[in-house]
């Protein structure tokens, strides 16, 4: 049971949150101009790394805000929580 730091409400149990998968996947502009493969990449393909993962969570049973989190998928250690639109913390991030 993770203890997740909602950037607004503070630390809460994992059960209050929803998981939104990989962060920083921008919806491509002009989808109709994309190839099927590029569109598939956006819709389906995921980094799914073993290690630091930049991901989205929503405080579903709290303030209902979405936010980002950098978490190690192997150790479950949280490296930081940051707002939507903000760049990821630390040297690992920054690749949008």
């Amino acid at each position: 049971m993770f203890l997740i730091q909602c950037p607004w409400c503070g630390p809460r149990d994992e059960t209050e949150f929803g998981y939104g998968g990989e962060a920083h996947i921008a919806r491509p502009a002009g989808p109709e101009t994309l190839s099927d493969a590029d569109w598939a990449d956006y819709v389906f393909m995921r980094k799914n790394p073993k290690g630091v993962h930049l991901e989205r969570w929503v405080h579903r049973h709290g303030c209902r805000r979405w936010f980002n989190m950098a978490r190690d998928t192997y150790t479950h250690q949280v490296l930081g929580v940051y707002q939507m639109g903000e760049p990821p913390p630390g040297p690992e991030g920054g690749d949008g």
């Binding site: 503070g10 209050e16 709290g62 303030c63 209902r64």
Partner: protein, 203 residues
Amino acid sequence: MAERYKQQGALAHLHLAARTAEGPEDASVRLIERPFQGQINLRGEIGDEAFRSAVESVAGLSLPETPNSFLEQAGRRALWLGPNEWLIVLADGEETALAEALRAALAGQHASIAEVGHSRTVIGLAGARAREVLRKGCSLDLHPRAFGPGQCAQTLLARADMILLQADDRPTYEINARRSFADYVWRWLEDAAREYGCALVAE
């Protein structure tokens, strides 16, 4: 005209009023339903001075900016629900007028006003062991050092959403539960209180 009809709260079927004599006199847990309250869900940017001052003047309330807290003025409360979201709680029957007034005052601004009083019911929980009852289903730290009067939180009670508010340090809590879950929440609370002995009280 609506007054012609009796409102029916979410727990009407449990006939709680008829049961208020139940439970030991010295019960360490007391439960009560407060079914009819005016509630408005208010959204807006607190950093926007026009929004803030319009709300303050129309509602007679300042909006808390500190997460998990509420402010009370003249019998009205404003609960922090999120960075741009508040719940205004006021007397039954007042919310439509206030909502209209807010709508007028905030016209042209980016704000949202929704009446939600009917979508919830409030259950009061008090007594020496109220905290123990609550923590059976609530994972917040309710220790007096961590959560006290003036604080509120949106969280879970067992399998239902709730807005929890602590009114005083006896402690008295208010559980703002969604209407369709009210039956579950009430029965859950009564059952949870069973080992301590529980009394139903009238207003």
